[in-house]
Structure formats: C-alpha cells, structure tokens
C-alpha cells in the first residue's frame, strides 16, 4: 500500500532522503535505504570541481530546527559519479543526483557529465540560500534564470527526468514552478532551506556560523513547506517532491494532502534517527488504514477544494 509511482519509477514507499543529508557516499545512502527505510535517496549537491565549503561551525541545531551554511562542499563530479554507480550496483532503490552550477553553462556541463552515472532523476539545486557571498542571489530567485537553467538541463539530461528544486523566496514558488513546467521540467522539489537566518552567541556577541548566515530547516519551516507544496500543486500538473520540516508521519500526511507525491526528509534524521523513513512510512500507512483509504493516491491533494 505504501508503494508509489513517481514519473517512470516505482518506489517502495514515498519517502526520499533530501539532498545534503548523508548523501556523500554509496555506503551512507545504502544504509539510509536498508536500515533507514527510505524509498529513494538524493545525493549531496555536486558540481564539476570539488569545493571545501564554508568553515565550521557550518551546521547548528537551535530549538526548532537546524541552521546550516555547509556552502555546497562536495568532492566534485568524478567522485560523485563513482559513488552513484556504486550505489546503483548495490541497491535497488532509485537514486536522484543533485547538481548545481555557478553559471548557467556549468549547469549544462554538470548535467551532461552526470548522465553518465545513469541516476534515476537529476535534481537541479537553484535555490541554496547559503552561498550568497560567492554566487550572489540564487538563480531560483529569478524566473528568467530558472527558465534558462530548466531548458539547458533538460537539453543535456537525455532520457533522465529532471526535477527543479525551488525555495520559498523570490518571485514565489508557484510562479517559478510554472516556469519550470513550461520549460520541460518533469517534477518540482519544494522546498530548499529557508532564509538565510542567523544565530548569535550572546557571550561572544558574534554570529556563530562561520558564514554568519545559513539556511533554516526542520520543524520551524514545516508550515512554509506545506504552503509551498499547496501552491505548487495548484499551479502545475507535474509531480512534487514535498520537502521541509517533516519529522513525524502527521507532517508527511500534511504534505500529501497539500499535493506532494514524494516526501523529502533531511533534518528529520536528526530528530528521529536514520530510521525516520521507516517510522514515517509506517505512520502514513496507519493513517490511511484508520481512515479507510486504500492508497496514498486517494488523499493526494486532498486539502484543495
């Protein structure tokens, strides 16, 4: 009953490991599937060249979530292609490759090279809010850039479906999603972290993150994520990977009612452990049982008129 169809894929359940969480290596992602129970995994966002990212502290818990400015650290495409291939050899669950670029041309290049690893989906990160100082405003804050990137990634992705990952900022997630759909996107991932935000140590009287600001994730952003998914569902016909603040089954049910096909989970790993996927899958199943539904499809988008 937890099985879901997403584009051309069949997942054991609708939970997906979100990008940037435990997605650096095949071994780590395999554990998230086998021990954690995830229906699919997303890699850490990567680019052609490796990056060290920001100095630590780069990930900080606060009372209602996490603040992070990892700064898109990644080992570069060659390493990641190896890890994706290794994962595919060892594990049946679908793997989504998350890519980013500093320029529009780089998005094309990294997509072209990623195709060689044959991931099940390419997720395009145009909405990371913690690399401002280097990259300027995220591309995902502009409809024009979003259109260009969607088009160029689609052109280079061959048969591999493409999901564009959006944030709640800029011209609005619904407008952006429509632009993505018009330019050929196969799915939307919503949302990335929110912000940027800041935490200050009151004794030292300075921001704690080395980057000073970072993206907010976890319980604090659930209402923003649910509302974003709701808006995107109204605006487009392509499926949505609803992500942001999901830590318990009830949160996931909200996402599905808002219109999500898959549920992205990142920070939930911190609150519930690696088996958060298993727990959420079970809880969603119990919810369906309790209310006499036979499948997730029956409630998808159920919060809309």
């Amino acid at each position: 009953m937890s099985q879901v169809k997403f584009l051309n894929l069949k997942l054991k359940n609708p939970t997906v490991l979100a990008s940037g969480i435990l997605g650096l290596t095949a071994s780590s992602m395999k554990r998230v599937v086998e021990f954690g129970g995830a229906g699919a995994v997303t890699t850490k966002s990567f680019n052609i060249e490796w990056r060290k990212g920001h100095k630590n502290p780069s990930i900080l818990p606060f009372r209602h979530g996490l603040l992070n400015a990892v700064g898109l650290s990644n080992p570069g495409i060659d390493e990641m292609v190896k890890e994706i291939r290794l994962f595919r050899r060892q594990c049946d669950a679908p793997i989504f490759a998350s890519v980013f670029g500093r320029t529009i041309d780089e998005f094309a290049e990294v997509t072209r090279l990623t195709v060689e690893a044959e991931p099940d989906l390419i997720e395009v990160n145009i909405s990371c809010p913690n690399v401002h100082s280097e990259f300027g405003q995220p591309f995902g804050n502009s409809c024009e850039d979003t259109a260009k990137i969607t088009e160029i990634v689609k052109k280079n992705a061959g048969d591999i479906p493409v999901s564009i990952k959006l944030g709640p900022h800029g011209p609005g997630v619904a407008r952006l999603a429509r632009v993505c759909e018009e330019h050929g996107a196969d799915a939307i991932t919503a949302i990335n972290t929110v912000g940027p935000g800041m935490l200050i140590d009151i004794e030292v009287r300075k921001p704690i993150l080395s980057n000073k600001t970072g993206g907010v994730s976890g319980p604090a952003i659930l209402p923003i994520a649910v509302k974003s998914v709701y808006e995107v569902y109204k605006a487009v016909n392509i499926p949505i990977i609803g992500t942001g603040g999901v830590t318990v089954p009830e949160d996931a049910v909200q996402m599905i009612l808002a219109g999500a096909t898959l549920i992205g989970i990142g920070t939930g790993v911190y609150y519930q452990g690696i088996d958060v996927f298993k727990k959420i899958e079970q809880g969603v199943r119990e919810y369906l049982d309790r209310h006499g539904f036979k499948s997730i499809e029956e409630i998808r988008g159920g919060a809309h008129e």
Binding site: L22, R31, W50, N56, P57, P61, P75, G76
Partner: protein
Amino acid sequence: MSDLMQTFPVKRIIEHGPGVKSFYFDRMTDAVAGQFVNVWLPGIDEKPYSVSALGEDWLEISVKAYGVFSGAMMKLKVGDLVGIRGPFGKGFTFRDNALIIGGGIGIAPLRILARELSERNFRFVSLLGAATAHEVIFVDDFRRRSSNCYVTTDDGTLGKKGLVTDDLLEIIKKEKIEFVYAAGPEIMFVKIKELIDPLGIAYEFCLERYMKCGIGICGQCTLDGSGIRLCVEGPVLNQDDLKAVTELGLPHRDASGRRV
C-alpha cells in the same frame, strides 16, 4: 548536555610540554569515556575533541598542536570564551582484564576510560606510547590506576624505545588480557588489528575522521563499506563494526568529501 552551541570561559590550562595542553571548563555536561565535544574558537573554526576527564565540577580536554585549529588552541588563555556542544557519539563499554593502548594524543579518551574502569574495580593494564616523554600525558595517573603500565617512546625519553605494538603479543599473553581498547593514529589500529585478530580477542578502537555537524546529518564522517556515521555510531567501534569498514588505514575524506 546540549547540542546547542554555548560558550564557556577556560578555567585552567596545563602545559604537558611543547605543543600539548589540557584545558579545563566548568562541567557543563555528563559524558562517558570515548564521547567527544565540538569545540568552537570564534573566528577560527570548530573541531571535535574527546572528553579526557570529568571531575565533580570540571571537564577536561587535551590537545596536541598539529595545524591551524589546534595551534590556535595553544594560544588560549584562562578566561577566553570557547564554544562547546555535545557530548556526541557512543563511548566505550566497560570490560574486565583489558589492555588500554594509547598512541600520542590518543591517550586523551583513555584517561577517562581508565578512571571509569578503576571506579568499577576492573583490572586493566596500560600500554602507552608517544613520540617523546611529555606526550605520554598523565602517565602517573595511568600508573596509579592500572595493575601494570608499559610505556614506549619513539626517542626513548620515557619507557622503552620503540612502538606500542613492538611487545603487544607478549604483553597480552603475560598479562592474561581478554579485551583491548585503543586510541591513537590509524596506522596503529591497523597494526593492532593484524596482531590480535588471529587471537580472537574482542576490542574497541576510538577512531577519528573529519567532522562537520557531529549530529549525524552531513554524512562527512561516514565510513566506506558500512555507511556508519563515526559521530553517532562511533567514534568507538568494536571488531564487529569494523568488519564491514573498507577504509581503515586508507586515505579518508576531507572537508570537500574527497579522499586524501
């Protein structure tokens, strides 16, 4: 105990010798032997350090100068504010008739272990090695608590000249050792494992990897082969945990995630 960052003034500093110091803070948390805290030097960086001892009202970490961060630690003065969050990770289990093997600053987490074992009246033997005499930190404490304490130094300034692994098998036999704890450089683990795996003796090693979050989210510290997160399921791993690990003694990941 808190995952949230909080800052604390340095209360006291011991200098063991050039480039090796212990730092004391008000005891802000419980911790078990093998657990670590993330230490933040504002404006510089944040790195993990084992809790090396706990008193009624104090917590101790011990640091050896290697690079930028530990170098900056050496410049700390009493009263300076340092961020600390944790403790993180899974510590050692407590066993009778054990051998404690420490290499260099790896002795730090074994100091609190020795205290916990002796509080439980467990018999244990210590085997400590370092480059030179002053790096065998708190050797008197180990001598007092262990039923026997063997020391080696690379330069022969304390104990026997050589490595901890030189006489390992003889010591295990002579002291009727049933369990091995070790912390130190990775090459030492490889050697110990080679020597004791054939004996079927169970063991726990306290490993190190580059870490970012300390809370099991970023994946930076996961070990190839098993996917275990060293910051949550470690840093102490036993012989069974290590069976699936394919990267012991091999290059491992830096801040970007490349193997270097």
